[in-house]
Amino acid sequence: MSHNVHEEDVLGKAYDGRLMRRLLAYMRPYKFYVSLAILVLLLSSFAQLAGPYLTKLGIDNFIAQGNAGGLRTICVLYLLILMVDAIFQFCETYLVNWIGQKAMFDMRSQIFAHIQSLPIPYFDRNPVGRLVTRVTTDVSSLHQMLSSGAVAIFGDIFKLVGIVGVLLFLNWKLALVTFSVLPLLFYATFLFKRLVREIYRVIRLRIARINTFLQENVSGMSVVQLFRREATNFNKFDRLNAEHRDSYLQTILYYAMFFPVVRLISSLAVALIVWYGGGRVIQGALTFGGLVAFIQYADMFFRPIMDLSEKYNLMQSAMASSERIFKIMDEKSEPWAVNRLHPRPNCRGEIEFRNVWFAYKNDDFVLEDISFHVRPGEKVAFVGATGAGKTSLLSLLLRYYDTSRGEIFLDGVNIQEINPRDLRRYFGMVMQDIFIFDGSVARNIRLEDSEITDEQVRNAARDVHAEHFIEKLPQQYEHAVLERGKGLSVGQRQLLSFARALAHDPPILILDEATSSVDTETELLIQDALQRLMQNRTSLVVAHRLSTVQNSDRIIVLHKGRIREIGSHHELLARRGLYHQLYQLQYAQQERQQAMV
């Protein structure tokens, strides 16, 4: 089994000033609440320090003096402070989390909005899963740092400083004697944390291996059984399992050692206090109460030190996360050029490609020297074998990609000069892979455009014959579509996407026809819906249906990235060229089937 780097979370520095400054910027809107949280934290730390001191007062001033009334006053005061502290603690917890949640909300929204604005080539390079992790898991680890890390660090330091201060105030000599165990405590804690951190990293790796192995074997169980590999695989599993157990036994060993050691150190402090402090009491330099308070304070030291070393972990992973997040935030968005086009109702839908070349990578051109002109309202079909460049051509029009050479004009304006958001509003698009969103049928038609009325949604669905199946759904238009349109047939999904395009009523339609076959009845519905969809608008269609090519005004035949033939269906057939051959291959059978229907 090979060790792999990408399984491990690579951790670096626990603090990076540059990243920290950017992170703190997200706290800025909540400055007031942050200060409030710190104030409450301070107060609560003080309140917690008060307990042993009050005990001391009670013992020295009242118990020793035999003043029962005074003792009662002290007790009531103690109780009050406890209650106030409880309130402070609650407020602090809530406030800190509230700030953290708000800041994370802002950050998540910003990252999400930013990722959405990135150009399509970015999505070609980066798998979706990785981007999802940025918005979700990475932000969560930042939240952890903000809510239980950053603010709590202040609290721990306050507490430590407070204890040191009170002890020095009570008796500075005894305080110094007591502090002599502190370096030991610090050392033990940080050593322990380091050991444990390392072993936990190994454990995460090993449990991941167990789970990967298990997952793989469960998925391929029939193969395992057929090839009678049960024994061998069991041994493998056993080995992984044992490795995991042994790492854990090691952590148990560390923990089992650590806790007694800490107790030993604090006992050492108590012993020192008894020995040295006891001597002082005899000499009258220290009161009984002071001695008791000392013992109680010494016990309180341990918590904040333990917490501080814990925070180190949090900070490390938060820094790693913010590094990854800011890397995305620094990616350039799509170009938002100036809008130079007339408002939409006047868009005529005239398109011109002028000597357009395009390559996804380097000089690997998928489109070479493409020039054509589409008049407003014209229906143009693009045909060609797979890989001829049809889909790429349409992607350029929407500015998913920019041309390598040459220009594209919409109503005579170079699309480079149009803000992509505005540009895309002129197009209705139906892709080959129909994308169905989670949510109701109505939402899938309307999307987030609240200007489209329910009436328009229904009309659009009726016009493209989607109404039949929608009305058969349990909740009709409000029916929630399952993930990615599961439960809808291929044909139904197509009709739904037609309704979506129609409802948005774009001046220009871009259609990449799906090749998947549907039953004859649905096929007829789709063909009719397509005609309605293309009515009264400029349409550019990558065609797989005979009916679509037959009904288009012009056909552009692409082959290996170049335009080979342009003309109407009959003209091109008569020419007996490339189109004729493609027709034989792709459409002739459809014609025969149509004849049969």
């Binding site: 003792l71 917890t93 020995w275 958001r421 987030e448 059978q589």
Partner: protein
């Protein structure tokens, strides 16, 4: 385990001594005392801590250690059990579900066997502190302990609520994740319809719900922590108030009061733990039930009392006698009668879902016949030891499954003793050897997540190599050449024919070219045999098979047309 309990008892007994020493030290301070006595007390405190520490160390090491050993055993048992389960089990339980049981549920059970038991035993024995407190002053002890039951109750109640809130938060987090996933997968549509603002609003709505859930959990947690601090402090106040009064009244010494404080402090954690532990037990019980559900399922396909364990070899005559098979309500095979003589080839053709794979799966007993009988060499298939049966079969499943291991290890999957030469030979038969040698690391190339991805055709050919390396008596190819081009397919079939001369083969395919040379071709539709015969017989018959043949001829012609197409404009 018992040893662990003993360590717990010892830890607590020794821990008991520490405040006692302190009490004596302080009480002695009241009277005359010198530095030597103080030093004695100081070293006693350290000595007690040392001995206690040693026991505490042993306690944790044994008790928590045990739980890791139990976890290990349980996980091994779970895996071993899964290996025995048949395909119908895997139809019912999805991988994700089984993984959840093997991870989350297993951990919950471990928590019970380790920490939960340790802390509850610890809490039980920490009652000795209480005993000592009663010994010092019974009334004060009872008063001081008043807040404790409340503490355990609050921890238990709120911990339950926290658990529930935590689950809700996880669900909401999953919803956010899938929203982002959906949006980014459909980014082209989102951009085309300029929906980014609306999508952002939706995303923010989910996030706002997420915040609400989180803050409500924060409230519960804050409440729990604050009330804990209050209750712990309350105990101190009670001791100070009443104990202090008693010291004034001289019915209690100052040393005893200090010891009281110390014992109270020592009881705090076990009490808090009690509430938490109850919760662990509840979760652990639920999880164990989920694990037991799997453990209680008997593997249905196994050697039984009719199995003839003396059998070591088979010849390879297969017969289906009136076999029917259903998944739940859905009948997949109806009254199948078939005889396949050893050394002959049967080809199965027919539309998707006609029952071809199910039929094939009955032979290695991946599925069990429900009606009728499958006979091998004339005897019911259940009489043949499963190990003998499966080692006589080379099977290439429809969906190629290769493991994240080297190609070498994948090919010799069924025959571990196979030499490199045998592996190469098998790869040669399946025409994948040259491909593999083209890889940088050859046969040692890693596959899967941590290695390279083979193409569909390469995967299928590797799976064929894996099946033929053991020289099986029966070879089952379930549409295993679909991703291989026709030319390579022809080469593979030719090599297979050579080595399969004495063996029985069953080939499922959609391609006529694959099946046309078979001794017997069966056309399945809706789980029934519609036609059977040789290629020529079936063509002559002019039925379903003949129509399939015509269609494919047409497609081939069009394909070759496409290849010659090269026209200048």
């Amino acid at each position: 385990m018992l040893l662990g309990c003993w360590f717990i008892v010892m830890t607590n007994l020794v821990a008991l001594l520490a405040p006692w020493v302190l009490k004596h030290a302080i009480d002695d301070l009241k009277t005359e005392i010198n530095n030597a006595v103080l030093l004695k007390y100081a070293s006693l405190i350290v000595a007690v801590a040392l001995v206690e520490g040693a026991f505490r160390f042993l306690m944790r090491k044994t008790m928590i250690g045990v739980s890791r050993h139990i976890e290990y055993d349980l996980r091994n048992d779970f895996f071993a059990h899964l290996q025995k389960m048949s395909q119908s089990f895997y139809r019912e339980f999805k991988t994700g579900d089984l993984m959840a049981r093997a991870t989350n549920d297993l951990e919950a059970v471990r928590q019970v066997t380790g920490p939960a038991i340790m802390y509850s035993v610890n809490t039980l024995f920490s009652m000795v502190y209480f005993g000592v407190m009663i010994y010092i002053d019974a009334k004060l002890a009872l008063l001081a302990l008043l807040p404790f039951p409340l503490m355990a109750l609050i921890v238990n109640r709120l911990a339950q609520r926290l658990n529930k809130a935590h689950r809700e938060i996880q669900t909401q987090f999953a919803a956010i994740t899938s929203k982002v996933q959906e949006n980014l997968s459909g980014i082209r549509v989102v951009k085309a319809y300029v929906q980014d603002q609306g999508e952002l609003r939706q995303f923010q709505k989910l996030n706002n719900q997420f915040i609400d859930l989180n803050l409500s959990m924060t409230k519960t947690r804050g409440l729990m922590m604050a009330s804990m601090a209050l209750l712990v402090g309350l105990g101190d106040v009670i001791v100070l108030w009443f104990g202090g009064g008693k010291v004034i009244a001289e019915t209690l010494t100052l040393g005893e009061l200090v010891a009281f404080f110390a014992y109270l402090g020592m009881l705090t954690w076990p009490m808090i733990a009690l509430g938490w532990v109850i919760n662990l037990f509840q979760q652990g019980a639920a999880s164990m039930a989920r694990l037991d559900l799997i453990f209680d399922l008997e593997p249905e396909i196994n050697d039984g009392k009719n199995t003839d364990l003396s059998l070591e070899n088979i010849r390879g005559d297969i017969e289906f006698k009136a076999v029917s098979f259903s998944y739940a309500e859905n009948q997949v095979l109806k009254d199948i009668n078939l005889t396949i003589k050893h050394g002959t080839t049967l080809a199965l053709v027919g539309p998707t879902g006609s029952g071809k794979s199910t039929l094939i799966n009955l032979i290695p007993r991946l599925l069990e016949t429900q009606e009728g009988e499958v006979l091998l060499d004339g005897r019911p298939i259940a009489e043949i030891p499963l190990a003998v049966l499966r080692s006589s079969i080379g099977y290439v499943p429809q969906e190629t499954f290769l493991f994240s291991d080297t190609i070498h290890a994948n090919i010799k999957f069924g025959v571990e003793s196979a030499s490199l030469e045998q592996v190469e030979d098998a790869a040669e038969v399946s025409q994948v050897r040259a491909d593999i040698h083209d890889f940088h690391k050859g046969f040692e190339t890693m596959l899967g997540e941590r290695g390279i991805n083979l193409s569909g055709g390469q995967k299928q050919r590797t799976a064929i190599a894996r099946a033929v390396i053991s020289n099986p008596k029966i070879l089952l190819l379930d549409d295993s050449l679909s991703a291989v081009d026709t030319y390579t397919e022809e080469a593979i079939l030719k090599r297979l024919r050579d080595i399969m001369r004495e063996r029985t083969s069953i080939i499922v395919s959609h391609r006529i070219s694959t099946v046309k040379d078979a001794d017997q071709i069966v056309f399945l539709e809706d789980g029934q045999i519609r036609e059977s015969g040789t290629h020529h017989e079936l063509l002559r018959k002019g039925g379903l098979y003949a129509r399939l043949y015509e269609q494919q001829l047409l497609e081939e012609a069009l394909e070759s047309f496409d290849m010659t197409e090269e026209v200048e404009p």
